[in-house]
Amino acid sequence: MDLAVVLMLEILNGIATLVLISVGLAIIFGMMRVINLAHGEFLMLGGYAAIVATNHGVNIWVAMLVVAPLVVGVIGVIAERLIIRVLYGRMIDTLLATWGLSLFFIGIVTTIFGNTVAGIGAPLGSVGVGRYSISLYRLVLVGIAAAILVVIFVALRWTRLGLVARGTMENPNMAAALGVSPPRVYATTFGIGAALTGLAGGLLAPVSGVLPTVGAAYVAKAFITVISGGTAILAGTAAASTLFGSVNQMLTYFTTPVIGEAGLLAAAILLLRVLPHGITGKLFRGSL
């Protein structure tokens, strides 16, 4: 019984991690059709922002929940203004440019912090479940991931900002005719996507530690999740995270993390063979 509970929590945790690392990417890709290959580096920068802030005496929660998203959000807006804006509509060039950006970030961070692992201790300690003990912080992560999904849903569905954003993505010319400035909406959307990614990076820093090349470990999973999710940003990310998170954690639990990773990938490739437009290309159509 205890084992079942722990396994459930592990699975929930796997799902939450996938949601965290892919939701910012889902927004940027889903809304703007921009493939941001620097996504992993945004996570990495969020992690460093949180760690540096904590080491300078900022409260760890403030560092993770406020400093990390702010820093990465600002970096995202700058990148959008300087590079991505020039390349809208040229999907492959955007992808390549963000790849260059990713190398650039890795290089800069390596120069500043060195090629070593930095980390901070996870807050909150652990609770006992029968004979096992689990980290309370990981439970909090699950809650935060769920909260992020709810907030984005509410923002997109019921606020004016969400309406303007959806309208601009649907038809930028019409939105412009109605007095909206599409460039500003793009910059904002990219900034929010980057900020959410920074938040995820900050939140994951205590769990996994950060080093300049850590982005590579995340970016593959994030992209697989978003692509398999399909057109609907939220429903897709949530569905794909649930599927892959479960597959990954179950396999990891019963075999090794290596098989877990490979299983995740195999599941994604099989899924895309059956549903080339992702889960929400066929199921849950019309959801957000």
């Binding site: 999907m91 190398l103 490739i269």
Partner: protein
């Protein structure tokens, strides 16, 4: 294509042959080893130049096939104690893997950008997988995979059928250059054939080729498989060169390097990726010996600069300039 070979190709082959014959007389052993690995990398660059530049397949996972080739060679060579079978497997294993992966991607009709992301993800997952194969449990026959430490002291290439007769550095250099010339000429022959014409036509307009009755999925799959095999061959030569292979062959750095070579050299030519590869390899070796700036930083800047400012790459841009000077000759596919 006419029976006569286009001058660009003849020129390139002559240049390669001159390098192959001349270099061992001119440089010391260190320089020779350096040029050997450059040659292996040029073959890798050619494989992506073919798949992406002619096949129009956005493959960001060329290093997956490169790495698979290297590991296949390593494992087979350790087990067999000689390299003949290993060298064959280094081509076959990645080609088969490319065919499998390609089947899922092309027959699932994934679009360009998804292809790029999937192939990239596959590579990175190989990287993670190989990194976690430390320990005695992970072995294939006699070969321990050794996780992130890599597999050291691999048997080097020997003359096929004569396990005791190993190739010395100069012979290895000749071999690499020969393979490079053969791959370069072979790809041009392939592109000049009916098959190659269809491949280029698909790149230009997929829907039209489909309507003309060509099975686009099959052609793309074949291009992808050939590209995978060539990359595997490069991986074999690379593993032989250092007598060493580590998961870094799958790393993001490796993957991005290949893309940068092709971007810098130019899409839609075969000599472009070779030139791009030589320039960037030289730069990487030079940068590696100094402490001023991080290599990734410089590569990132070059990558960005080319995408934003010279999106065509060096060779097509130069050809275009030259063509403009002599009056708009047809330049595409001539190098």
């Amino acid at each position: 294509m006419s029976r006569r070979w286009p001058p660009g190709i003849v020129l390139t082959v002559v240049a390669m042959l001159m390098i192959a014959v001349g270099v061992p007389q001119l440089v010391d052993e260190f320089g020779l080893l350096q040029l050997t690995v450059f040659g292996a990398m040029c073959i890798l660059a050619l494989s992506l130049g073919f798949v992406w530049g002619y096949g129009g397949i956005l493959c960001f996972g060329q290093s997956a096939f490169f790495g698979l080739g290297a590991y296949a060679y390593a494992v087979a060579a350790i087990n067999a104690g000689e390299s003949t079978l290993a060298a064959v497997l280094a081509v076959v294993v990645p080609a088969v893997f490319a065919a499998l992966l390609g089947y899922f991607m092309f027959y699932g009709r994934l679009s360009d950008v998804y292809l790029g992301v999937i192939t990239l993800s596959v590579t990175l997952i190989f990287f993670n997988l190989m990194n976690s194969t430390a320990g005695d449990t992970y072995r294939i026959g006699k070969a321990r995979l050794n996780g992130f430490n890599g597999m050291p002291s691999l048997p080097t290439l020997n003359v096929p059928g004569l396990p005791g007769r190993l190739l010395d550095p100069t012979e290895t250099f000749y071999l690499v250059m020969a393979v490079l010339v053969i791959v370069y000429v072979g790809l041009h022959v392939l592109l000049a054939s009916h098959f190659g014409r269809v491949v280029v036509a698909i790149r230009e307009n997929e829907a039209r080729c489909e309507l003309l009755g060509y099975d686009v999925r099959l052609y793309k799959l074949l291009v992808f498989t050939i590209g995978g095999g060539i990359a595997g061959l490069a991986g074999c030569l690379f593993a032989d060169w250092g007598a060493f292979v580590s998961p870094n062959v799958f790393s993001l750095t490796m993957t991005s390097q290949i893309i940068i070579w092709v971007i810098v050299g130019g899409l839609g030519t075969l000599v472009g990726p070779i030139i791009g590869c030589l320039i960037m390899q030289y730069l990487a070796t030079t940068l590696g010996t100094q402490q001023l700036a991080n290599t990734n930083l410089i590569f990132g800047i070059i990558f960005l600069a080319f995408v934003l400012l010279v999106p065509r790459g060096i060779v097509p841009s130069l050809l275009r300039l030259g063509a403009g000077a002599v009056g708009g000759a047809r330049v595409r596919n001539s190098a």
